[in-house]
Structure formats: C-alpha cells, structure tokens
Subunit: 250 residues, 2 copies
C-alpha cells in the first residue's frame, strides 16, 4: 500500500492550535496536508460558498488556506489541492464538544460529512473543557482512531463524530461507540438594547439539559470515556414512511 | 381545538414570492405568522448567529423579519415573537429543489430541522424548475400537506422534506412518500482569475448524477409526483455501531 494521504481541516481557522495538534498527530500515519479556513468559521454548519470565487494560498509546505468554510476546504482540497484522492479526512480538533443535535450546527462535523459524500473515510474530533485547551491527550486519541480507520475502515456512507474528555491520557476510561443524544436548551436567548434603545436578541447562554440514555455521546463523555458516534448521510426516517402511509388519509 | 398557530419562514428572505405564496396558502388553516430573514440566506445550512445581537422588525401585521438565518428565525420566532407554541412550522416555498444529500446545505430544510428540535411538526417546501417560478400549484400542495400534518401528525423527531414538480395541478401524478437519494457532482468547481492574474476557484456548475433507486426523492419528482421524504434528527448509524464493535480491533 502506498503511503496514506490524509486531508486535515477544521472550522476554527488555519492558525488554531487544535488543527496543528491534529496535523502533527496524523503525520506519522502518512502524508498529511492541511486545507483550512483563513478565519474562524465556527457554527457555519454545512455552508458552501457559491456566490464568489475562493482563493487558495500555501502558507508553508503542505499547509494551505482559503477564504471560505470547512465544506469549501474539503471540496476544493479534494478536487484542486491534493494530487490524488485522500485515504482519510480528519477535522478538528475543535476546542469544545460537538454532541447530540448540536452536531447539525457544527463546521467541524460538516467537513467530515462533506468528505463522506465523496466516499472518503472521515473523522471529526472535538475536545471537552474550557480555554486554555490542552490538545495533547486528544491528539493521541486522534492518532489512534485515525490509525484504526485506515486499518479497519468505516461503515458505508458513515463518518465518526469523536469527542474526547478534558482529562490526561491515564485518566481516560476507554473508547466507546455511542449514539447521538438529545439536547434541550432553556432560556438560550438573551435580550439587549442598542445605543438607540431598540431591543435586540442575542442567541446563546441559558442552560442545557440532556436526554437519551447512558449509551449516548453526552453521557459517555461525562463518564470519562472517549465517545465515538457513527453518523450516517441518509437522513430518511424509514419507519416514518410506514407511519405516513398508514396514518395519513389522503 | 383552538385555531392552529403556524410559523412561516424561508431562506430566500421576507420579500420572496415563494414565502408569500406559502403564507397565503396556510392562512386558511389557522393564524399564520411570518418570521423570515431580511435577505437571501440560501445555502447557509443550519447556521446560527451567535456573534452579534439580532433585531426583529414587524413589516406588516403578522409579517416579521430579522437580520439573521432561517435557523435564527425559527428559534427567535418561537421564543420571542409568537405568544404561544406553534402547532406547525412551514418553510419555503424554495425556488429550486432540495433533494438527496444536498438537503444538508439547505436553509429551507434547516428551518424545519430547528422546528423539529423544538418538537413542533415542521414541513419544508421546494419547487422544481427555473425562474420565473409559478408557485400556485406548489401552494395548493402546501395547503393540503399542512392540513394533513395538523390532522394526522408526523412521526416523532421527524420533519417532512417536500419537493413539488414544475407542473400544473392536473398534470401532477400524485403524492408519494420517498427516501433521500444520493447525488454525485462532476466538475462542479470552475477556475477563474482575478484582475491581478491570480487563480481562484468558484464552486458551482458541473453536472449532477443521481443514484439510489426508484423510491428516492429525485426519481419520484422526475416522474411527475410530489416527493414527501420523512427526515429524522437522529443521525446515528445504529448498524454502524455493530460494525465498529465487530471490526475495530482496539
């Protein structure tokens, strides 16, 4: 087998320490090439930039940046920067978790969704905790799971959403396969006023409640293990088709 | 039962004719209230604006707009504009289809995902064809399916992604429940140069191929029927967990 080719991206921008930690971690597994956004693109979800041209710049050998989103980075990275199809795409390491329903907002996860659409095994990495983040434990986990993905493969049309606890390597209890939990925000919109006294709303804050059970991403992470959730591209509720056929009297 | 309360939004902005067609269609089913973006927010996916405050303006009675994304409109509409929990959320009518894997880029569909996260039955409507669009047939379909959703309900944690063919009402062959198809783009990145001769990439164009079979959204729509795809919030590949437990020798 030729040396594996690994595309590395994120949503926090090319200068983010989590990206560099991931890059350094996977370089021992093959040739790693970064194509990452110039600036922080957190919470852009699966946005694709189609209303303007994008420019790729090579900052250092194997480190490229473009003025777009994580999804732009994957599609342009795969088609225009890399000279052949990559064997693996890794995204992150995001400073902060991507759990439950919130993954649909995540640029980190969206990059892995885009890679999976191209049929390339793709992993999204996020680290629990608060600033300042120490990415060293998560980088070790990333190395291990990237190695596993290269060796054993992934389920078809499926990416892995990986969340690492804010712990040292010896403190981590294990690596567990999980399902996506449900999150409920309470009072997550604040009210504020502009200098002219007009009311504005600011999304954020509030409290979060989780549900779903003890094999969900959130519970496993809180218990001190690494959570590995297989996420599929097919969003169809197949049982829902039966529900509709049976109940809707059209 | 009290008069149903229906939140109406889209991703093309408050002045889009497809939004007004949808608003007029569902007004006969209850009290309809628009909360829609000020400007075109196509392809913003499930973006949430958290880095600045948002301002809601009432343009006319029951027609509100805010300087954010479709997801912002649903969360602020539900929590700050409506005086009670809505019975239904409708998004669209988008000029242009939202099919297969592309729904993960769609602002129209993301608004319905956000509504579903709040536990409110949510429908996303898109119309096939090209500009100029005639929304009259799709508006009739929207009225019918919104009425069905209010009467018979939806599968749990599931929204409906609805695509209407570019046909007159008598030409439409029927309404069918479908699953999400797979799309593959070819050569969907163009190269261009800026005035200083530097190469840029522009995402778009190319050709699209579809796969998946004759019960997919794309095939059913192409055959002249309305496609109704139930889309679930849980993205976990549950069978994938078994694959990983069996195959990954950790």
């Amino acid at each position: 087998m030729a040396e594996p080719l690994i595309l590395v991206t994120n949503d926090d921008g090319v200068y983010a320490p989590g990206l560099r930690a991931l890059f350094d971690a996977v370089r021992s597994l093959g040739r790693a090439i970064i194509v990452a956004p110039e600036r922080d693109k957190s919470a852009v979800s699966h946005s694709l930039t189609m209303n303007r041209p994008l420019r790729v710049r090579e900052l250092e050998p194997d480190i490229h940046t473009l003025d777009g989103t994580p999804t732009d980075c994957v599609t342009i990275g795969m088609n225009k920067v890399l000279t052949r199809r990559p064997d693996l795409i890794v995204s992150g390491i995001n400073p902060g978790v991507n759990l439950g329903d919130d993954i649909s907002y995540s640029g980190t996860v969206s990059a892995a969704i885009e890679g999976t659409m191209y049929g390339v095994p793709s992993l999204a990495f996020s680290l629990a905790g608060e600033s300042p983040f120490d990415f060293s434990t998560a980088a070790g986990i990333a190395w291990k799971l990237a190695s596993m993905a290269l060796t054993f493969g992934l389920p078809e049309n499926t990416l892995l959403n990986i969340n690492v606890p804010d712990k040292t390597a010896p403190e981590i209890k294990g690596i567990r396969f999980t399902r996506q939990g449900r999150r409920v925000y309470k009072n997550a919109i604040q009210e504020t006023f502009d200098p002219w006294g007009r009311k504005h709303y600011w999304i954020g804050g509030g409290t979060v409640h989780w549900s779903g059970g003890n094999d969900t991403d959130e519970e496993v992470l809180r218990g001190g293990s690494v959570s590995v959730t297989p996420i599929q591209l097919d969003l169809t509720n197949h049982a829902g088709i039966d529900f509709l056929k049976k109940n809707w009297q059209m």
